[in-house]
């Protein structure tokens, strides 16, 4: 496989200045800076020490695809269980978790039930946004909204504050148009404008949504049509972290004060952009699978512009 770990510099200090990396196999040049992911185990002592010295820590889980049972990973339930087992074993518990969508594979009630039960075993508050796989019930999203839509706006978007950081969960998987990418829509953009209007530019912002909010590979729909309008509203803020899922691999870039990061899936890997005829589940030898699945941990320290993002594999 094209190994994304090639895009993860080793032994880089978190405060490392701008780095330019050529992402193997694509020729795309990403600029990376502080908040570089490190290939640490979640239980690594350094990570635990870092978590202890942070003001708070949250975890991102993504693309659990409960119900997926094909060759790329016939046991998506088991790998989610394993990821959650890691979380339950952490010395320092995260303050909360975010799930960036594709909780289920087919939006079926028993898939949502299984995910709730497994993730709920952590007893850690979890904030969800939907993926397109959570919208394919007969009600086209009703199953998701019935379960996770309380206290949200529109088709499931919302915001909340934690220790002075403003978190915004956006929905870009509803009513996708032929030939298009992910889509936020005017109603959500209008809400976002109002949500941000009275906030000081010094407030750190974390935005999370399923489909990447920047264009990674439009041929495979890996981007959001109207994300530029959302990013324009976020431009004035001194620290913006954008966390996405959908593409089942880590890709990141930094643009001005904005750090973009996509998380691994807990279910199955997908090919790097353009490296396969289609973006379907990537079949890898069994012994390699868990090295391609994982979790993302984020530490926040007051006064530091960049949030420390740590990715770990299963």
């Amino acid at each position: 496989m094209t190994d994304n770990s090639e895009a993860e510099p080793r032994k880089l200090s978190r405060r490392h200045a701008l780095e330019c990396m050529v992402w193997a196999g694509t020729g795309v040049i990403w600029t990376l800076s502080g908040g570089i992911p490190k290939s640490l185990n979640l239980l690594d002592e350094a990570q635990a020490a870092e978590a202890a010295s942070s003001n708070f820590t949250f975890l991102q889980i993504s693309d659990s695809h409960i119900g997926f049972d094909k060759e790329a990973n016939i046991t998506a339930v088991d790998t989610l269980n394993e990821a959650i087992g890691r979380i339950n074993g952490l010395a320092v518990k995260p303050d909360f978790m975010i799930h960036t969508g594709d909780i289920t594979h087919l939006s079926k009630p028993d898939e949502f039930d299984d995910a709730d039960q497994i993730i709920g075993s952590t007893r850690i508050v979890t904030h969800y946004v939907p993926g397109e796989h959570d919208m394919v019930d007969a009600g086209q999203g009703k199953a998701y909204m019935d379960r996770y839509g309380k206290d949200t706006w529109g088709q499931g978007w919302y915001s909340f504050d934690q220790n002075g950081v403003h978190f915004i969960g956006l929905v870009n998987v509803v009513n996708l148009k032929a030939g298009g990418l992910g889509n936020l829509g005017p109603e959500q953009l209008d809400w976002l404008q109002k949500d941000l209007a009275n906030r000081p530019s010094s407030q750190p912002i974390v935005v999370f949504a399923h489909i990447p909010l920047w264009t990674i590979y439009p041929q495979w729909g890996w981007g959001t049509e109207d994300s530029a309008q959302a990013l324009a509203l976020l431009q004035r803020f001194g620290s913006v972290t954008v966390l996405n899922g959908h593409i089942h691999q880590i890709i990141q870039k930094v643009e001005g004060n904005m750090t973009f990061h996509t998380a691994r899936s807990t279910a199955f890997p997908q090919p790097s952009p353009g490296s396969a005829p289609a973006p379907g589940p990537m079949i890898v030898p069994a012994e390699q699978l868990k090295g391609l699945l994982g979790l993302t941990s984020v530490n926040y320290v007051v006064g530091q512009r960049d949030l420390a993002i740590t990715d770990s594999t299963l």
Binding site: F68, K70, H105, L106, S107, L176, A178, W220, G221, G280
Partner: protein, 111 residues
């Protein structure tokens, strides 16, 4: 899977109390298959006659859906080997896409 019923069979069907079925299906109505493979509909353009049906079969190992651009029909998520059939009662051209991967597009021409 042509649904052609010979005259005698149609008479028999009606005699057997299946008149509704026989009358609602125009003579020689047929079913045309569109296969989904590697994130693409094949064939991309399907030409049928009024009253014919189109059956979509998902041959990929992830799910897809079939949604008319004008909203006139939509499927749930189709898992591997799942099928969905739509019938077309009016002449015209209907474009459709996959609701999960909207770069996947196709069209049905009803003559």
């Amino acid at each position: 899977m042509p649904l052609r019923l010979p005259r005698t069979a149609r008479s028999l069907a009606m005699a057997a109390g299946l008149a509704t079925l026989a009358f609602s299906m125009p003579a020689f109505a047929k079913d045309v298959t569109v296969t989904i493979t590697n994130f693409a509909f094949a064939p991309k353009t399907t030409t049928i006659a009024v009253g014919d049906t189109v059956t979509f079969i998902n041959g990929d190992d992830t799910i897809h859906s079939v949604i008319a651009d004008d909203g006139s029909f939509h499927s749930d998520g189709l898992d591997t080997n799942d099928k969905v059939t739509f019938s077309f009662a009016k002449a015209g051209k209907i474009s459709y896409h996959c609701g999960l991967h909207p770069f996947m597009k196709g069209e049905i021409v009803v003559q």
